[in-house]
């Protein structure tokens, strides 16, 4: 039961790390979508089927499309997709910061005494999730709905060009 977890974890981390270092934007985006799928595999391993499918549906199905669309819309030639190498100082600084955070997190994980896990996995049937969503979490569900609607409208307003008076935009 540990082995699948290790494989999923190593693959996901490796894919994400490669994606973050590649110079080709499309390859980066596609590899990151792969790592999102790896996270869905982890959910599936943990027994959270519903979360796994939601992850695939939202990330691999929807967010990935928006990302790829943004990549294609924000370039003028194919060469634009080759992201220029970044300043070495920035890269080193980022590595240092990331390494420090990693050290702190790993130290915390190793130092904390965690309760021994139960052998039986908790079950979350779709029915139970639905009843919780409609019962205890109904208010949050409504709020999420409002957030999504506002985000949709906001995204359309931000990204759309105004046709008549777009003088400061027309550069």
């Amino acid at each position: 039961m540990i082995l699948p977890l290790v494989i999923i974890a190593l693959l996901t981390i490796a894919v994400a790390a490669i994606a973050m270092t590649l110079r080709n934007l499309i390859h980066s985006a596609l590899l990151l979508i792969g790592s999102w799928a790896g996270i869905a595999a982890f959910y599936f391993w943990a027994g959270a089927e519903f979360a796994a499918f939601a992850q695939v549906l939202v990330y691999v199905g929807a967010v990935s499309m928006v990302v790829l669309f943004a990549v294609l819309l924000t370039r003028r030639s194919r060469a634009d997709l080759e992201v220029a190498p970044d300043a070495i100082g920035r890269g080193l600084g980022a590595m240092l910061a990331g390494g420090a955070v990693l050290g702190v997190l790993f130290g915390a994980v190793f130092a904390t005494r965690l309760d021994v896990a139960p052998t039986a996995a908790p079950t979350a049937s779709v029915r139970a999730i639905g009843q919780q969503l409609m019962g205890a979490h109904a208010a949050s569900l409504l709020v999420v709905g409002v957030i999504l609607t506002v985000a949709l409208l906001g995204a359309v307003v931000i990204a759309s060009t105004d046709r008549e008076g777009g003088k400061e935009d027309a550069r």
Binding site: M20, A51, V58, V66, V67, G98, L105, V156, I158
Partner: protein, 105 residues
Amino acid sequence: MSLSPLQLCLLFSSALFCVGLVGALSRSNTILVLLGVELMLNAANLNFIAFWRFSPSPSPATGVMFVIFSIAVAAAEAAVGLALVIAIYRHQKNIRLQEANRLKG
């Protein structure tokens, strides 16, 4: 010292978080920075599932519920973020983050 599955999950999520952090800090392409932030969000979601799965007295579906709401909010964030990327591109004809500093005093 042998690792418990819960610790392995936590190590997995923290490593993923740091990959996202390094990516978000080191890249200058706005889309890649946004993707790094998304990766960090996902790494945080992993913890919800891990603690739900391995906690001594799991409540019915709390971890899953958290993750579902988190995914919904992350989707909204991605949509708005990428709309912003397109708006930035329209103003400065590229999406280098360093050049988006016109409001700098």
